[in-house]
């Protein structure tokens, strides 16, 4: 490992005008990016980390491995369609899938707050076991810590995942090419609205459930069929818009999106209108975008639609050279606008 480049312990430059952590630093938007770019990545500087992907690809003798981690601090712990446990398993399975990796094993580390009912831990652990079984992966190692009452929030879960990369592709934003088709695996915004509805005590005609689900199957099916997948990204904090902006910036290419092809369920759209939220920026936990060469797009869509989790896959846009590093969106009424990264999440602690 090279010595940390550009790292200055007494860095005099405040992070976007702040010298304390704010909730927006955890939101997956511009402020979190600044925090990572200015403090974390320079200090840890190494090739896998600098690829700015959600997982690292490591080489162990003759195997290529994917390795990823996420902590989960979602509030409330339980919500329609899932809980912090399903989220913790599917989120990490999905980060492995975004490397095109087959999950090999997960870890589970709990930070429990003194006073947490053990029944709550049991429910979370049961959800994790169930989600792991559905994703055909074992939770093979773990850790438990307890913090004093008032120093945590019930339960935080960290999962890390190791997967085997069985293909020879470099699946990464830097592999995206002009002419690529951009595929979206399903409707967007459900996870964000499901959480928001519980937090705010909102009632809709039908309960909006999280889309939380494992994406490994359709991704592995694409690879097994020989689709030349250039890039995959799951849509978590910051939603579809932030994922696309990150990829446009990393690839220095232009992503041209047609909003009319982005599915948003009617009740999600209604909730967004009432609450003033933009579904393109809402977190999802079972949705991804895939970048594939345009001639393979139809075949890829067919494969994705064979799996329930991505039955509503659609082509939402294409990649071109210019204007570089930008995402433009053709709206429902045909106007075109540039998508900007928000400074933080619309909803803190969404995952």
């Amino acid at each position: 490992m090279a010595p940390p480049p550009n790292f200055n312990l007494n860095c005099p430059v405040p992070i976007t005008g702040q010298d304390h952590v704010t909730l927006a630093h955890g939101g997956g938007g511009r402020m979190m990016h600044d925090l990572l770019e200015r403090i974390v990545i320079p200090a840890f500087g190494n090739q896998p980390l600098e690829s700015r992907h959600d997982g690292a690809v490591l080489t162990a003798e003759k195997s290529r491995l994917a390795f990823t981690t996420d902590s989960y601090v979602v509030r409330p712990l339980f919500f329609p369609g899932g809980d912090i446990g399903t989220l913790a398993v599917n989120g990490t399975v999905n980060d492995l899938a975004m490397c095109g990796a087959r999950p090999l094993g997960l870890s589970a580390a709990f930070i429990l707050e003194e006073g947490l009912p053990l029944a709550t831990l049991e429910k979370v652990v049961a959800s994790m076991a169930c989600a792991a079984q559905a994703a055909a992966v074992g939770i093979v190692t773990g850790d438990t810590k307890v913090v004093d009452r008032g120093k945590g929030d019930g339960i935080f879960v960290n999962t890390a995942g190791v997967g085997v990369v069985e293909h020879g592709l470099a699946i990464a934003p830097t592999s995206v090419r002009p002419g690529d088709a951009i595929l979206l695996s399903g409707d967007v915004g459900r996870h964000g609205v499901a959480i928001m509805a519980v937090r705010e005590g909102l009632q809709f005609d039908t309960t909006i459930e999280t889309d939380c689900a494992p994406l490994a199957e359709p991704v592995l099916a694409l690879l097994a069929a020989g689709i030349e997948v250039h890039c995959l990204r799951d849509l978590t904090r910051g939603g579809l818009a932030t994922a696309l902006i990150e990829i446009a910036e990393s690839s220095r290419l232009h992503l041209d999106i047609d909003e009319r092809n982005i599915a948003v369920e009617e009740n999600v759209r209604g909730a967004c209108e009432i609450l003033g939220l933009d579904p393109l920026y809402l977190a999802n936990e079972g949705r991804c975008v895939a970048f594939v060469p345009a001639p393979e797009a139809d075949k890829a869509l067919q494969i994705m639609r064979n799996h329930p989790v991505s039955a509503r896959a659609a082509r939402i846009g294409q990649v071109s050279e210019a204007p570089a590093s930008l995402v433009t969106l053709q709206s429902q009424i045909g106007t075109r606008r540039i998508l900007d990264m928000h400074s933080g999440e619309q909803l803190p602690r969404i995952c």
Copy 2:
């Protein structure tokens, strides 16, 4: 993965008479064992987890991999000789080393409390980078979450680690054999006393520093020299005594320890006497025990003593058949007693 055995969501049996999480559940002692045995392991049940080792060994094509995780919630964040960052790197490097694995990559996941000074994060990140460099491993992937003020405690760090197992041994408590020599890599109790001294504002003639350090080098040297290592265990929460009791219980063998060969620094012993602490139960972060066949013990000690981190390695006991599952300690004055597992850590949030 098999379906979770014996798992009952509405388990009517309270955990050691409790139905809420207490600080003792995080202490590495009997109560944490009960929590894991009754709630976590049955739900996740699979072979690597059931080996009850600190890391899992996974097979990826032709490689054997070690995989481990720990969260760090130590209080205070900074203490003599280290901080939460050095702990987070060395702790996970050591768990990999205890599988006999060469570290391949670490993850770093931060749960930050709103309001944390960014300078604190910078210091922790710099310590992690420094410790990772010393252990010759990269921090290759990560995650950052922020929780509201009062729902965290400054900064919690989770690290997971992946390592390559280059030997063909089964290093595990179940590989321990009657006749094995028990080697201890150095003096015990310093990490626990270092933390306690800061918390309580105690002053000693000389500052007691944590022993936090990476153990990969001496362990890999033992394996490179062809020593038939049966079991390795680092001494963290619960200290030397708890590690030995866990191994005695897993192997169903008797560990006979001579306290006179266990090094405890004079100032650590003094502090323990004042504070009523037992150095055998105090946490260490750079110490381990190794179980090797008796004929190889002298060679193994020589190898360990060649490395600064284990320069004071000593033979502290041997393994016999009976009384099964027990650790007996011959004390300084020649009497013999049975070591019992405490219900929790003497000092909560030690790591």
